[in-house]
């Protein structure tokens, strides 16, 4: 197969290395512009299946705020984001909720769990 030239911006950390990569059969032939080795890992994953941590909110009853912030406990395929959001719209949740508590297991069949990112007490 031909060598393809691709450009990526690594989002692993705020440095945001911009790399020019030559790709053949899903593997990296050459890479320019990376400041660390994590960029290679990132590019390989981007070629296979872009993965991101999803951060969003779910509605919660009995708290002083309407929404509870949540995240996936590990990156999930980007293409599952909207399906995950759809599942979260159906969640029935009441306080108290503790930080890191699992809200939904195996969200959108991704193998990742949705966890709370803050503690929310019962409204006094």
């Amino acid at each position: 197969m031909d060598i393809e030239k691709k450009h990526f911006t690594c989002v692993t950390c705020p440095v945001g290395c911009e790399v020019d990569v030559e790709v053949q059969n899903g593997s990296i032939v050459s890479m320019k512009g990376n400041k660390c080795d994590k960029v290679k890992e990132f590019v390989l994953q981007e070629l296979k299946e872009p993965m991101r941590v999803l951060t969003t909110t779910v509605r919660v009853e009995g708290a002083k705020y309407a929404m509870l912030p949540v995240r996936t406990d590990k990156p999930i395929p980007k293409r599952l984001f909207l399906q995950a959001i759809g599942e979260l719209a159906k969640v029935d949740l009441r306080t108290p909720v503790h930080i890191s508590e699992v809200i939904v297991k195996d969200i959108a069949g991704s193998g990742a769990n949705i966890v709370a990112t803050r503690t929310m007490e019962i409204r006094e």
Partner: protein
């Protein structure tokens, strides 16, 4: 009421400053917060990317806040919630008000200003047109969506490519709104590169550089906006106008340090940052009054905010204990060639000097950061205004400096 250290504001800067002041030996540390809980703006920043440097973890804003609040709980810091500080005087008397104590005063040995910043709004940028509902700052939209649970609109245009605007472009998209585009008046993006990728490119949201909104249309509610290309002087180009139908316009057009209290205390403010002029100890021009975080200058990363909070907390405790008398002799730290902002603005020979440098323009070539008269030159692959450069200079190297320290960025 008496205190060793009074910290105003409990966002990341204030939390870290209070914890650090206590750990550094100040006994009575008070933390004053106008909202009903600690954490400041972190609570609505539900995205990840916080604390990569400080905790080596990829926290969300609320997780980062809870982490600091847990640390705070292990100290003897006394918190006042729902408490609005209405005045700080040069003799470090803090006047505050809440519904339990009414108006009360705290005589503090040292004060840490950590009030953060606020967003520029429509009035600051003067967009012509009608005044319908649906024009709001990105941060207001963030609070509505992430905390209150309201979607501010269904079809949005975002003006300005600051980080909050980019984050909200993704957030609105995930919540089912259509984001028609992000328009930036400059010819380079305002936010971090990673946010352009994760928030715009990932969702096919277009970014238009050298564009601005030149008219808002609609009577009761926004019905659309007119966008125009701008020339190199940032003036709209006649004939380039395009109408875009939308019901919401989000503004992400910059942040301003919130310094009403600093002014009241007679603290000298910098013309470039609009925040207090401080030394590397985070002490302002008024003895015993320190400032840290975004009230000083707007930082890109919470890690930088936390670092200034740590320095302010430690030195405020030292001042309160009488270990030192504050800044005596100091030299100026100046922004030289290709530098828009350098923070701090003074050096008083007490600590190492950590410089935060905002380039004046993008230079997409290898650059050298010079810190004259010290013979150090730091190499970078490029310099961009949306990425603050941090450089640490050991105090040994600065011992002999007599005139000013000048920071410059040059192509190499």
């Amino acid at each position: 009421m008496q205190a060793d250290v009074a910290v105003i504001g409990s966002g990341p800067a204030g939390l870290v400053a209070a914890i650090e002041a206590y750990r550094s030996g100040a006994k009575d540390v008070l933390l004053l917060e106008r909202e009903e809980e600690l954490g400041g703006i972190l609570k609505q920043c539900i995205h990840n990317g916080f604390g990569l440097e400080q905790f080596k973890k990829d926290y969300t804003g609320p997780e980062y806040a809870e982490c600091l609040i847990e640390d705070l709980g292990k100290t003897g810091v006394h918190c006042f919630l729902n408490t609005m500080v209405i005045g700080v005087s040069a003799d470090r008397t803090v006047t505050a008000v809440n519904s339990e104590n009414g108006v009360f005063q705290i005589e503090a040995k040292s004060v840490v200003l950590a009030m953060g910043c606020r967003e520029r709004a429509r009035g600051s940028i003067g967009i012509p047109g009608t005044r319908p509902a649906g024009v709001l700052t990105a941060g207001t939209a963030q609070r509505l969506v992430n905390i209150e649970g309201y979607l501010p609109g269904k079809e949005a245009v975002i003006l300005g490519s600051g980080d909050i605007g980019l984050i909200m472009a993704r957030r609105l998209t995930l919540e089912g709104a259509q984001v028609k585009g992000v328009y930036e008046i400059m010819d380079y993006p305002g936010g971090l590169k990673r946010n352009i990728v994760q928030c715009l490119n990932d969702f096919d949201i277009p970014l238009y550089l050298s564009h601005t909104v030149t008219e808002i249309r609609g009577r009761e509610r926004v019905e659309g906006v007119v966008v125009s290309k701008v020339d190199e002087k940032m003036q709209p180009i006649r004939g380039s106008e395009k109408f875009i139908q939308c019901d919401t316009l989000l503004l992400s057009v910059g942040l301003i340090p919130e310094n009403e209290l600093s002014k009241g205390a007679g603290v000298e403010l910098s013309r470039t940052t609009t925040g207090p002029v401080t030394s590397e100890t985070m002490e302002t021009s008024v003895a015993g009054i320190f400032s840290c975080g975004n009230v000083s200058t707007v930082f890109d990363l919470v890690d930088y905010v936390a670092q200034t909070g740590m320095s302010a907390g430690r030195n405020a405790a030292g001042f309160a204990k009488g270990d030192w008398k504050g800044n005596r002799e100091s030299v100026e730290v100046l922004a030289g060639e290709n530098v828009r902002v350098v923070f701090p603005q003074r050096y008083c020979f007490r600590d190492d000097l950590t410089l935060y440098i905002r380039p004046a323009k993008p230079i997409e070539k290898p650059v050298a950061i010079g810190i004259s008269p010290v013979e150090i030159s730091i190499k970078r692959l490029y310099a961009r205004p949306n990425e603050m450069i941090r450089v640490k200079v050991a105090k040994e190297k600065l011992k002999k400096v007599t005139g000013a320290v000048e920071v410059s960025i040059t192509e190499r």
